[in-house]
């Protein structure tokens, strides 16, 4: 059970059951859709970006515990952050879930996703919202797929 407990940490279970910032953002000025064809997870990330800062962020979508919790915790992590800082955070998060975490990388609550690195097929679940966030920031058209 210990590997499973590492994956499904309390904070992840909490955010998957009660996701934060899970609603359409009425004054969003950027948004993107993400899709993981492997499991059918879909997420839309809404952003309000002002003067290079993520003023507000939310998401909507249906998915597994890992992808829902990741989206929820991501919104908390990037709210109020500058764009470069957000980009850097994604880089560190990606390193964390793929088992290539940088030494001493500051990730706060996102550290809960460390256990994902033991489950390679679940990396896409953990990063779907982040990829979608990145697409929204880059204002890429169309749906972002994990494939």
């Amino acid at each position: 059970m210990s590997l499973l407990r590492d994956l499904y940490q309390e904070v992840i279970l909490d955010h998957s059951k009660s996701p934060r910032n899970s609603a359409q953002l009425s004054d969003a000025n950027r948004q993107a859709d993400g899709y993981n064809p492997l499991c059918g997870d879909k997420v839309t990330v809404y952003l309000k970006v002002e003067d290079g800062v993520v003023e507000d962020v939310s998401f909507k979508g249906a998915g597994c515990a890992i992808s829902t919790a990741s989206a929820s915790l991501m919104t908390q992590a990037v709210k109020g952050k500058g764009l470069a800082e957000t980009e850097e955070l994604f880089k560190r998060f990606h390193g964390l879930v793929t088992g290539k975490a940088e030494e001493g990388a500051e990730l706060g609550e996102l550290m809960a996703f460390q256990g994902v690195s033991e489950f390679p097929v679940r990396v896409k679940c953990a990063t779907l919202a982040w990829h979608t966030l990145q697409a929204a920031l880059e204002k890429e058209a169309g749906i972002i797929s994990t494939e």
């Binding site: 499904y8 499991c39 059918g40 998915g63």
Partner: protein, 423 residues
């Protein structure tokens, strides 16, 4: 290793007995003895692909080690041996399906290729603007997309037989869809996502009232039910080798001989021709007309071995054992209040799809995997089915004749773990 040496399972579990000696049979499948994540492997993903008995694995090795050669070409010894083995495999498939002639058996890559072949030959030749192709709401994507493609090209219309909330086709709606415009009915024998066994005999008869041709997607049907294509009277029946305990990359398309004779080739190339000049090409006879290029020779031969193995045990006995297992699994899983079975048709086979309250299938799959239990999670390449039931994905346990009640118990215990993690 000589061929036919290790037909142990069926041989030792005497044929007269109605019950399978499952423990003995399991010895024939080398993969089943291993541990996964520190637990004995419980392989319940048979609808995705089945495991291979030793006779099949040995046949592959034997081919490459002793008679690897191209077929229908060389006058040399090895080519003759390979050709004979390949054509023998065709006869084995013919007998399995009870087709009247071996030329009615076309070796393809997969069920998917078989359906594409029919869509691109029969469909291309026979469909006209305004014609209709009837599929069902429970089809695998591979029995939807090839028809969508040809319908688009021919300006024909794809019609869909709806299903009820048990996952059964609505036959009265099917009757209503059929008309003089119906050219093809393409329907699955057993639903890969729901386990429903469709009443194909009746459906074929109904289609024939309107002179429509019928293709049966037998990817899930062939490994689990005894078949007789002459009695069924379907125009086409397709199945995959790898779900039939054979290798990947080979499949079978049965087609009625006269019909196949009247169809244009699928792909151009070697083997499918009689003579070629730059002015004109004469196509080969059936089935070679539909087998352009060097086929999956070893795949067909090894599938032949799988057919020997399965038919030696007997599909009736296999169906009986699997049905018992399936009923036991359904009973055990139905007892869990957190779990809902998707697909509760009166007639079902060896597939149990389920969803769990507030727990996504993907999480179920990961936790079960930690218990050594392999199930499929996702939309099972049947997104329209998921839409019907308004679920994004299901977990699916699918059984084969080498599975046991004890393995079902491990699955149920594993689901207990899932509930524990998420409680």
């Amino acid at each position: 290793m000589t061929t036919g040496q290790s037909m142990t399972a069926a041989g030792s579990s005497s044929i007269g007995e109605s019950r399978l000696d499952v423990e003995q049979i399991r010895q024939d499948f080398p993969i089943l003895g291993q541990q996964v994540n520190g637990k004995p492997l419980v392989y319940l993903d048979n609808a995705a692909t089945a495991q291979k008995p030793r006779v099949v694995i040995d046949a592959i090795q034997e081919y490459y080690q002793t008679y690897n050669s191209n077929i229908h070409r060389g006058v040399h010894h090895l080519s003759q041996v390979a050709t004979e083995a390949y054509e023998k495999a065709r006869v084995k498939a013919q007998r399995l399906l009870n087709a009247s002639e071996s030329r009615e058996i076309i070796f393809v890559r997969s069920t998917t290729e078989a359906i594409n072949l029919v869509a691109q030959t029969f469909g291309r030749e026979r469909l006209q603007a305004g014609d209709e192709v009837v599929v069902s709401a429970m089809e695998h994507h591979s029995n939807i997309v090839p028809w969508q493609m040809i319908c688009q090209e021919k300006d024909a219309r794809l019609r869909v037989i709806p299903i009820n909330d048990k996952g059964e086709l609505l036959l009265e709606e099917y009757e209503r869809l059929l008309s003089e415009r119906t050219r093809v009915v393409a329907v699955t024998h057993i639903s890969n996502a729901l386990g429903t066994i469709n009443p194909i005999e009746q459906m074929i008869e109904m289609a024939h009232q309107y002179d429509a041709a019928v293709l049966i997607d037998g990817a899930q049907g062939a490994p689990h039910l005894p078949l007789d294509v002459q009695a069924l009277d379907c125009e086409f029946y397709a199945f995959s080798g790898h779900k039939f305990y054979g290798p990947t990359g080979v499949g079978v398309l049965y087609g009625k001989g006269d019909l196949l004779d009247s169809l244009p080739p699928y792909q151009g190339g070697g083997e499918m021709i009689l003579s070629v000049s730059f002015e004109e090409t004469t196509y080969n006879v059936v089935p070679h007309r539909f087998e352009a290029g060097t086929p999956n020779i070893v795949g067909a031969i090894a599938l032949g071995k799988a057919i020997d193995y399965v038919t030696h045990i007997g599909l009736e006995r296999i169906a009986y054992h699997e049905d018992e297992l399936f009923r036991y699994a359904t009973q055990q899983l139905s007892g869990l209040p957190e779990l809902t079975i998707i697909g509760t048709a009166d007639s079902k086979a060896s597939i149990t799809s389920f969803v769990m309250d507030d727990i996504h299938a993907h999480d179920v799959g990961t936790i079960l995997d930690q218990e050594g239990v392999a199930v499929r999670t996702g939309h099972h390449c049947a997104q329209p089915v998921m839409d019907c039931f308004e679920v994004p994905a299901t977990s699916r346990a699918s059984f084969a004749f080498y599975n046991t009640k004890e393995e079902v118990d491990v699955l149920v215990e594993g689901i207990g773990k899932v509930i524990e993690v998420f409680k």
